[in-house]
């Protein structure tokens, strides 16, 4: 019971306001914000009613559905980390190129 309360409290106090402020700062689209809220809500429902996981599992024909759930979560997280890493690398490269462009701008202009 304690873990359910702690997680629910965390989601309500930290996660939801975080999503809202990201949406306000325009770093999340309305669709993105709704998707994140739905995801967290689904997580909360599953925490409060864990037997729902088994219901989903049995309807999908998976024996130990909690295992399948954990595996899917790991795959999702790995994918998420990888795509972020790629994006950060791209951004880092772009910052360097922009830096370079600014640095040699004068020489380029003098050449013209």
């Amino acid at each position: 019971m304690v873990i359910q309360i702690v997680v629910t409290f965390g989601v309500l106090v930290l996660v939801l306001p975080g999503i809202y402020s990201s949406y306000k700062k325009k770093s999340l689209t309305p669709f993105g914000a709704v998707l994140w809220i739905l995801l967290w809500m689904a997580g909360l429902i599953l925490i409060w009613f864990p037997h729902l996981i088994d219901l989903i599992g049995s309807s999908l024909g998976v024996g130990r559905s909690i295992d399948a759930f954990v595996y899917l979560a790991i795959i999702f997280l790995l994918y998420s980390v990888l795509s972020q890493k790629i994006k950060i690398n791209e951004l880092s490269r772009e910052i360097t190129l922009l830096n370079r462009k600014i640095a040699i701008k004068k020489i380029e202009e003098d050449k013209k």
């Binding site: 690398n89 910052i95 600014i102 640095a103 020489i107």
Partner: protein, 235 residues
């Protein structure tokens, strides 16, 4: 000997305000007038000090690392139509007298790239530093398939064919290894010449943590390997 008119000396500099002026003057005394300093987002007066000597001074608004600054310098020299580009450290550890040794094989048509090696004459170099350099050489060989005696040396000379065929993307120290890989892939002729390393109090203090097996030295090494692995995964 061909005149030094179209030889460009590239000095990537980060927080070298205390020594940069002297380093530039020493290079000028050897007859090299074309010097490009790239201030890599320093928080001290490196830019002002370099600019006051009248050499070409470029500035990275944000610090991006020695690799990024060196490539910016090479790009600038390329725009200025350099025949030969020499890259040097800006902390005064390289002797400007060695520039002649570095460019000679290029002028003789015997090499496209010349690497100044501290490892061909290791007299005075701490044993731990020698071991660290050898490990870096092996790491470079593993990742890029090229074995040289001093893979981390920043004192190098490139002819036009070489500098138009290489372009590094790694921002920090690993770019020295990346560059060697590109030199190999472009089938450029590479030569190593022994260089002198000037261990001043300034450079000794700066590299204090790297001159022995300190935690920081080890951390830097591990970080370098991680970045090399990343580089082989993400393009």
């Amino acid at each position: 000997m061909k005149s030094n008119n179209n030889i460009y000396i590239v000095l990537p500099a980060y927080n070298e305000g205390k020594v940069i002026k002297e380093v530039i003057t020493d290079i000028q005394k050897e007859g090299y007038k074309n010097i490009i300093v790239i201030d890599d987002g320093s928080s001290d007066n490196t830019y002002q000090e370099a600019k006051s000597t009248g050499v070409i001074t470029l500035s990275h608004p944000i610090n991006r690392g020695k690799g990024a600054a060196t490539q910016t310098g090479i790009d600038a020299a390329k725009l200025l139509n350099a025949d030969i580009i020499v890259t040097m450290d800006s902390d005064g550890q390289h002797s400007p007298k060695d520039i002649k040794k570095l460019i000679q094989p290029i002028l003789d048509g015997k090499a496209d790239v010349v690497v100044g090696s501290r490892m061909l004459n290791t007299k005075g170099m701490p044993q731990s530093r020698i071991i660290m350099n050898k490990i870096a050489n092996i790491v470079t060989y593993i990742f890029f398939g090229i074995l040289v005696s001093d893979s981390q040396s920043g004192f190098r000379a490139y002819n036009r064919k070489a500098y138009t065929n290489v372009y590094t993307y790694m921002d920090r120290y690993e770019f020295e290894s990346e560059m060697l890989g590109q030199i190999k892939n472009a089938k450029l002729r590479i030569k190593e010449v022994p260089i002198k390393v000037i261990y001043t109090d300034y450079s000794k203090n700066k590299y204090k943590h790297m001159s022995r097996f300190s935690a920081q030295g080890l951390t830097n090494g591990v970080k370098m390997v991680i970045r090399l692995i990343e580089n082989s995964l993400f393009k």
